[in-house]
Structures are given as structure tokens and as C-alpha cells.
Symmetry: C2
Subunit: 334 residues, 2 copies
């Protein structure tokens, strides 16, 4: 009462399958500091949690702040999460199981923590600050290690009773298709993720059909990253372009299902692959989806690339944390 | 002011592919009158609209009321609708196109009209009065002439910016499958609707594999209705049971996609087919869906049969009309 209110700061965290990013924001979402580390998905959950804390501390330090200055943390995580309890639910592409990340970070940093799916965070970021402003229903599809999905419906993250939802990567697209990380066969993720594309490209290289990729990157799929694929295409490896086009077509089929089910007006494609080849992805996803949706929805949606790049999930997680924590404290004081 | 308020009455209307039902309710949803007619889907829209009005007038008459006593009409229609403008958007199983049903009924009956998808109406009915009470996210799948879908999310019908959504019948389940009424191939509806089941059963009968069906009903698919299928199964036509089981399995695959996308906690199966064979449908849809959903969702949903039977859509449409019209008038007076 009477005192100048302490300025509020928010941490946004993006836990990816290959890298993690912490970013510190002012109350109006100017970035003050950031820190990035590799995820090491094969390591155990405890060492993963320690690494997350370390990364957040690094970003807070870079912002010239201490943990006491942080009003809340938002963290976007791969796969389904229990949004109410702040728990990761067996993420398909991390060797972790039901990790209590919310409680661990609350204990460590002494502030409320909002746990959400990483693509939900990214789509919320695009909805608030990027290319999905004013969308009624924005669905994000982020092909990467897996294929993440997220949805902002009427300004709120679409969710289950306690869990996140919109696991578009596990949409069934190829009957009796390859085995997926989730245990099923023929999920979108099993045929159109970066891992699936890299494996198909490696086989093409081994057959001598992608000479640039073979010469520059080789056939180790761990090395065939988005940039290597884009470069091979730019240097005339047309088979690699065909592989990406087919992945985009399959994503488009899943997108047509999403549009038929949600009448979504905005489909946002994001992640490293899309950033490296935005035109190739948006064009082919758009074509395949528009061909398959019901006539009533054919002209009622757009397929666009994410505008905020790698930062979408971190800023989205921070903004969602503020939205949720602010809401709770307003209710508490009301 | 000071006067006893006039008692309010609501009309609920269910426009199906084969029949239409009008029902008149009190403000607390006791049924006062009902009227039912065949839809005649091949007839033009104008004659369809006249038939709808006639059916509503019949129900109002049976309730001992006149059009002036009606506070609002809710109408559930097959296929996508423009909920704001009250327009049907090229329903796949009616020979109508963009019919302005809301405006026509408002003109005819002088009251507000809420136009919605028929399965949205049915699911809302089940959510308010039937088997889906307290659901966080209830998704309805009603296999009939086509396969309708609907969703009530946190107490509201899930929708697009202006249109209805949840067109689960057009979920892609069989690559290069049969041509669907929507123009695409391999939609769920093309392989698991009553028409698809009837066609498969007719072929089995013609091959001599369904002797009871052949003897009692014949091979005209227009005659192979839900009751005839159930009876053939009860009398030992196991091939017919296999056909229904396979349709239920395909519905289960589409349901697994819905659960992965929406983390729906309740799947309601309804319509004539399910009413005739509730156990066969719920068991096989449940099994196929549970097998395919992500581990995080495996124990987080139920598959149940609708409880309100044929009346779900009419009472749901009436209740939604009251919800929407009441909301609008509250806002107007606030």
C-alpha cells in the first residue's frame, strides 16, 4: 500500500528434444536475458531437472536479476503434460517418465510455475506476439525430433480436464506404418518427423541418389539436421526435396483432420525444419490439407509459418504463466 | 414489472438424414408435444423448409400452444452449419445447399432461432440431461446415414469462428478408400456409416453368407436398417456381426485421433445403429480406441452409449437455444 510496486519479471522456458532455452522477460515481454543448453534426452530425469535449473539461473544472471525478482516461470515441455499438477506424462522422445517439473522448479525458485506442452507454448506465443494474432482457433504443428501439436482456442490453450492435448504427431496416417515412439504404428510422427525425413534421406544418399547430402553430411542420421537437408535441396538433391514434400503431404492430411474436427482458422507450422524450408512446407501442407478438408472449410483456414522462430515457445510460456498466475491471484483477491 | 412473467416454451428440432422430429418443452424441459415426419432428403430445400415448419406447427399444436407462446427454437442439422448466420453449409447427405434455415424459421415463427449441428445438439442434450453430465470434454459420434460428430467442451459447444465443427465422419481412415459424400476418399463415413454397413451386409447376403438377412430383408440397401442388421446378428448371421465389428473398429481409430487431439474424457456413441446394438458398438469402439491412444490418455476416457435415445438432439437443441438466447438477452439488459 502506497509503495511503488516491485517490477515483475517472468521466465519462459522451452524444453526441446535436442535443446533447452530459458529467457527472462519484463512484465511487458521485453527480453532481458537468455541461456541455451543441449537437452541430452538420453540422460535421466534428475540430471535433466538440474540442467533446467542451471539454464534458468544462467538467464536470470544475464538479465542482471536474482531468483527473488521472478514472479513466475512458464515451461513448455514435449509431449502431454498434466497442466494442473505440473507433471510431464511419459514424453515419447525423452528418456524421462512422469517428471514433477513444476514442483521441482517451485521449490528451487520459490515462485509459481505453469507447466504446459511446448507447442501450446509456441502457439500461444504466436497468438499473442506473432503470426497468429486474432485467430479464433490456431493449431500449431511443429515437426522436429517428433511432431508436436498445440492449440489456442478463443484465447486460451485448448486442454483436457487435467492434461494438455492436441497430440497431432500421433494422428494415425499410415495403416500398419512404421513403429512410433509412442508404441503405435503409422503415427504422423513416425513418417514425417525430422528423424523420419533424415532416415529416408540417409537411405537415398546410401543409394547414391542424394550426392550432395552424401558428400557434405554423410549417412549418419544424427548429423542430418534441418540445415543439412535444406542445403542438399538447394544444391540439387531433388530426391531429398521429394522426401520433404511427401512428409509435408502427410502432415497436410493430419491437418485436414484437424480442420474438419476443429474448424481451425489458422494452422501454424514451426520448428527447425520449417524454418529451414518454410516455402516447401507451407505450400505442400496447404495443398494436401485444402484438397482433403470438407467443402465448408476449404476457404476458411490459412497455413502459415511461425514468425517468432526459436523464441516462440519461451515467450509463449512466459506469457501463459503470467496469464494463468495473474488470473489465479485476481480470483484469490476477489 | 409487477406482472406474472409469461411462461416460456422452447422448441427443439432434430433434422436427420431420414427423419425429422420437433418437440416442445417447458422452461425446465418437460416435453409437452412432439411431431415426427420423414425427411425426404432427395427433395429440394424449399419443400424441406416447408416440411420443417409443418412439423414444428404440429408439435406446438399437440402441446396445446400457439406460435406466440414459443420463446425460441433450436434446430440441429446434419453436416456443418454457420452457427452465427443460421445457415446449413452443403450437408453431405441432403440434396440441399447453403439453406438459410434460421432466417426462414424466425420469419415463420417470430422468435429467435439457434441453428447448430445435430450431433452437437445431441451431445449437449446428453451433457445437460443424459449420460455425459460433468464431462470436461464430451465428443459424440453418431453413425447413421452418415457419421455425425459433435463436442461439448467445458459446457459449451465447441465451434469454429462462425461454423460448427467436429466433422469426425470425414476423418481420413482408409487411404485411397471408397468415395465419400463429401467428395474425398476413405473418410470414416465412407466405410463405417449405416449405408456402408448395409452395402457390405447386402453383398454378404448376395454371396449367401448372411442367410437370415437375405430371407428376411433382402439385398436392397434401402431396406437394410439398424433393426434388420441387429436381428440378422441375433439369428446367427455372424458375417453381419463381423461387418459391424469392423465398422466399430474403424470408428475406434477415428476416436483415438479425437482423444489424442482433444484429450476428450467422454465419447458418446448414439444414433439408430448404436441403439440397436449398443454392446457391440461400445465394446469394439472402446477396444480399438484404447489400443491406439497415447499412453498418457489410455485410462482417461470412457466410451458410452447415449442415454436419451432419439430425443437427445431435440432436447439438446432446445436447451442450447435457451442457453444462447438467455445469454444474449442477459448481455443486452446488462
Amino acid at each position: 500500500m502506497g509503495k511503488t510496486p516491485t517490477p515483475r519479471h517472468w521466465v519462459g522456458f522451452d524444453l526441446g528434444g535436442t535443446k533447452m532455452l530459458a529467457q527472462v522477460f519484463t512484465d511487458d515481454f521485453k527480453s532481458l536475458g537468455r541461456e541455451r543448453k543441449k537437452t541430452r534426452p538420453q540422460h535421466a530425469a534428475a540430471s535433466g531437472l538440474a540442467r533446467i535449473s542451471e539454464t534458468i539461473r544462467g538467464a536470470i544472471r544475464e538479465a542482471g536479476l536474482t531468483a527473488e525478482d521472478i514472479s513466475g516461470i512458464g515451461i513448455g515441455c514435449p509431449g502431454p503434460v498434466d497442466m494442473d499438477r505440473g507433471v510431464l506424462l511419459s514424453p515419447p522422445n525423452l528418456a524421462w517418465d512422469t517428471v514433477d517439473v513444476g514442483a521441482a522448479l517451485t521449490k528451487e525458485f520459490g515462485c509459481p510455475v505453469a507447466v504446459m506442452n511446448d507447442v501450446d507454448a509456441g502457439v500461444y506465443g504466436e497468438y499473442r506476439f506473432g503470426s497468429a494474432k486474432d485467430s479464433f482457433c490456431a493449431v500449431g504443428v511443429f515437426p522436429g525430433t517428433g511432431i508436436g501439436g498445440g492449440c489456442v482456442y478463443r484465447g486460451e490453450i485448448l486442454r483436457g480436464r487435467s492434461s494438455s492435448c492436441m497430440e497431432i504427431g500421433h494422428c494415425h496416417v499410415v495403416p500398419n506404418g512404421p513403429v512410433c515412439g509412442c508404441g503405435q504404428r503409422g503415427c504422423l510422427e513416425s513418417v514425417a518427423s525430422r528423424h523420419a525425413i533424415a532416415a529416408a534421406a540417409a537411405r537415398a544418399a546410401l543409394r547414391g541418389e542424394a550426392p550432395h547430402l552424401l558428400a557434405e553430411t554423410g549417412t549418419d542420421i544424427a548429423n542430418i539436421r534441418s540445415g543439412a537437408l535444406a542445403e542438399a535441396i538447394a544444391h540439387g538433391d531433388t530426391v531429398v526435396a521429394d522426401i520433404v514434400r511427401e512428409a509435408a503431404r502427410l502432415i497436410g492430411i493430419a491437418v485436414s483432420t484437424v480442420v474438419n474436427m476443429l474448424a481451425a482458422d489458422t494452422i501454424i507450422l514451426g520448428g527447425g525444419l520449417v524454418e529451414a524450408m518454410p516455402e516447401l512446407f507451407t505450400t505442400n501442407v496447404d495443398r494436401a490439407a485444402r484438397k482433403r478438408v470438407m467443402p465448408a472449410y476449404r476457404d476458411a483456414f490459412q497455413v502459415i509459418a511461425a514468425a517468432l522462430g526459436d523464441d516462440a515457445a519461451a515467450i509463449g510460456a512466459a506469457a501463459w504463466a503470467r496469464h494463468v498466475i495473474h488470473e489465479k491471484s485476481s480470483k484469490g483477491s476477489g
